[in-house]
């Protein structure tokens, strides 16, 4: 290159300032607005032959001998999450409901157990919290005596299970466990302190069971291998239904339909 010679060639000065100003203003503005749009969608793949999507017939008799359809159904009521199929039901997952609130005024976060007809108060000011400040609903699995079951989670908030897919509550160094991602990831325990004992989320257990079901029917390949029906009671909040849908999609059941439980 000739330019590299000893002489300095004065570059014609361009005034970049106005353009720089423009960029400095535009970039933050666009950055802000780009971060703002986080809306995603959940695709419902409703069976086409049903016309209207709402299959009310879960508790009504589904036609027997409809080839080898599985009719996998996740059922959610106000105290129980369970999984059913044509053959029967898995044991129910009882849950206690905890609500996480984030206060509008001072961003205090706190989690309380939900009791119907109980007003939630701000821990400091004693102000009544509105439902719009409820940020998350946690469903903690319980045993029959309503004691919360605790299980191990790793730092990515994935539940740990053993080879059969049962949640594990205790590990020692050298154990092999599986993290509940899809597909399950093998984790060899080096330091048991890496894992944290937390209340078992009913959603995670649901996902775990769904994955087990998926595994069991991989050979049989029923017609509706990817389908799941989510059946809910009238009073169940929409938020819970979306979380169950997440669990279902996480376990590779993308074709979700919705049904109503007759009360």
């Amino acid at each position: 290159m000739k330019v590299g010679g000893g002489k300095r060639i004065a570059a014609p000065d361009q005034d970049m300032k106005p353009f720089m100003n423009l960029l400095v203003v535009l970039v933050p503005m666009l950055l802000l607005s780009a971060e703002f749009a986080k809306i995603a969608i959940i695709d419902l793949k409703l069976p086409e032959n049903r016309g209207s999507q709402t299959n009310t017939a879960v508790t009504a008799q589904p036609d027997e001998d409809k080839s080898n359809k599985l009719l996998l159904t996740a059922i959610i009521t106000d105290s129980v999450v369970t999984l059913g199929a044509k053959g029967g039901f898995l044991p129910s997952i009882f849950y206690k409901e905890y609500h996480k609130y984030v206060a509008k005024d001072d961003n205090t976060e706190f989690t309380v157990e939900y009791k119907p007809n109980d007003k939630v108060k701000h821990p400091k000011s004693g102000r009544e919290m509105s439902v719009h400040e409820r940020y998350d609903i946690f469903l903690y699995s319980t045993d029959e005596n309503r004691n919360i079951i605790k299980t191990l989670y790793n730092k990515y908030s994935e539940m740990l299970t053993d080879l059969e897919g049962n949640p594990v509550a205790q590990v020692k160094a050298g154990d092999t466990v599986y993290a509940l991602s899809n597909p399950r990831r093998v984790v060899v325990v080096r330091d048991p302190a890496e894992f944290e004992l937390r209340p078992m989320s009913a959603y995670d257990e649901m996902k775990n069971r769904l994955m087990k079901v998926k595994e069991r029917f991989r050979e049989a390949q029923p017609e509706d291998f990817d389908d799941i029906i989510i059946a809910a009671e009238n009073e169940v909040l929409y938020d819970k239904i979306v979380q169950i849908m997440d669990a279902a999609r996480g376990a590779e059941y993308p074709n979700i339909s919705i049904a109503k439980l007759r009360s």
Partner: protein, 163 residues
């Protein structure tokens, strides 16, 4: 300014590389801005549930929003949510009359567009935005009404979880 007159070349900022960077960032941001910004508009005081879904909203034809006090079709209030709640739950095939009317109107419009050749076929796509504190009962009634009119491809709008 005396300094500018000197023969010795002055130490100036190398703006070129920074300009390059900025231009690229600008292009990128502009692109992401226009493809996401306006597809879904949030109704007031409607809090969408959080979900792990990463799917971005595609081109949508119709929006149905169920906020705590109003049901809206394409951001136009149609009927109070209270009225939807009042529809008896025992009904096996519940529908919301005013919502049905509005949806039928939209559906007829879509059919008209197909007739004129602006669309290939009636897709029956609808994005449903529901407040996360709404009960399933309301959701069910709204969905049933959508399905009856012919909007069978339903999508739920959710908030992506920030990771």
């Amino acid at each position: 300014m005396a300094r500018g007159r000197k023969k010795v070349p002055e130490a100036s900022l190398m703006l070129t590389s920074m300009m390059d960077m900025f231009t690229i960032i600008l292009c990128f941001l502009l692109k992401s801005y226009s493809s996401e910004g306006t597809l879904l508009t949030n109704a007031d005081n409607l809090v969408l549930p959080n979900s792990a879904s990463k799917k971005k909203p595609q081109e949508v034809n119709l929006q149905v929003a169920v906020s705590p006090d109003m049901v809206l079709v394409d951001n136009k209030p149609v009927t109070p949510t209270e009225d939807v709640k009042r529809i008896p739950q025992e009904q096996s095939d519940p529908e919301v009359p005013k919502l049905k009317e509005a949806l039928q109107k939209a559906y007829a419009q879509e059919e008209e567009m197909v007739r004129l050749g602006a669309l290939n076929r009636v897709e029956g796509k609808v994005v449903i935005q529901v407040d996360k504190n709404m009960s399933f009962d309301v959701l069910y009634k709204v969905m049933n009404t959508c399905g009856k009119v012919g909007y069978n491809a339903m999508n739920f709008a959710v908030m992506g979880r920030e990771e």
